[in-house]
Symmetry: C3
Subunit: 140 residues, 3 copies
């Protein structure tokens, strides 16, 4: 069994954004030399997500508006007790639960084994600082 590990660093210049990281994950897979196995991609931060969906800007706008309705960004402790700690990012911890921490992708014949429209996104909900995604691939 082989294993390969790589970090993808990001510094999203906005508080919230969706970044297509499929090319970086494909690059990590090529570097690994693994042909058959599983590829884990996860946010290393608890105010961000990794998820698979469509690379369409209208949909990303819909995600943004929908998540804001489900878990609005309200700084200060009036709405979220977490913000009593001095943080202002409670909403980001909630949004990340809806969108998920990680994806596991099959590796087949040296490629990410994807359906026709699958793309991997980093969902940033508390940006404007350096944050990381972990890629861990195991197989042969």
């Amino acid at each position: 069994m082989k294993s390969y590990r790589k970090e993808i660093w990001m510094n999203v210049p906005k508080r919230r954004a969706f970044i297509n990281i499929t090319p970086q994950v494909e690059q990590a897979l090529r570097e690994s030399g693994i042909r058959e196995g599983l590829c884990l991609v996860n946010s290393m931060h608890i105010t961000a997500s990794v998820f698979i969906n469509d690379d369409e800007s209208g949909l990303h706008h819909d995600f943004e508006r929908w998540l804001e309705a489900l878990a609005p960004a309200v700084p200060g402790p009036s709405h979220y007790r977490h913000n009593l700690t001095g943080e202002d990012n409670a909403d980001a911890h909630l949004k990340r639960q809806v969108m998920g921490r990680e994806v596991v992708v099959a590796v087949t014949d040296g490629r990410l084994d994807f359906g026709p429209w699958e793309q991997i996104f980093y969902g940033e909900f508390d940006g404007m600082r350096r944050k990381r995604v972990l890629v861990k691939i195991i197989g042969e």
Copy 2:
């Protein structure tokens, strides 16, 4: 390390439904000959889910009603910008995030290592066409 790959094809005759695919996944596991490892089951489409929950029709009705309240099916672009593309399935992309893309199930002694009520479902949110689930098993 062994690996095994299988696609499960479906054509759900309704827009939305929950289909128990546990028997097909168990069949794939038997075909694989793998006794210890991990089994990934994921939707290959971004308007559908794979998830584990209860095989109870009342609960499925509750899921349907709940998801419709969280992300209502509204064709046309009045509610979702994604539908400006000519699609009418923005709600399906959102519902799939709540229910999830994939499950990873432990394989122990040649069986899916499940608790008492766990069953694997395909959640279709934009049906009436041929779509696929991927099963990828690695182990020994």
Copy 3:
């Protein structure tokens, strides 16, 4: 390839709670002797979650309040058809979908490969009875 399996049993004395199980998962990893691989941690029950987020009591209060707004605990069949079966836990099945069934964590150099604040939680939504979490680790 090595594999290791362990069950973590719990009996949460309240209906709902979030329990940090990171020490138990780390203990299982030490017992496994696995240095490189993947660690699956999943609830074996469909009214509970395993997820990764912050170990901060204010945030847990926010999760509780938020989930209760998304899927309120209403016993009896007035709100949920699942409760026609005699169960009163339909809300728990829904809450578990938001928070997730499982996490997959990279194992690197014999440790859970975590970002700075990642901690693994068991999310109980229908407690006051014995329930289990499964840890399955594969690798070398």
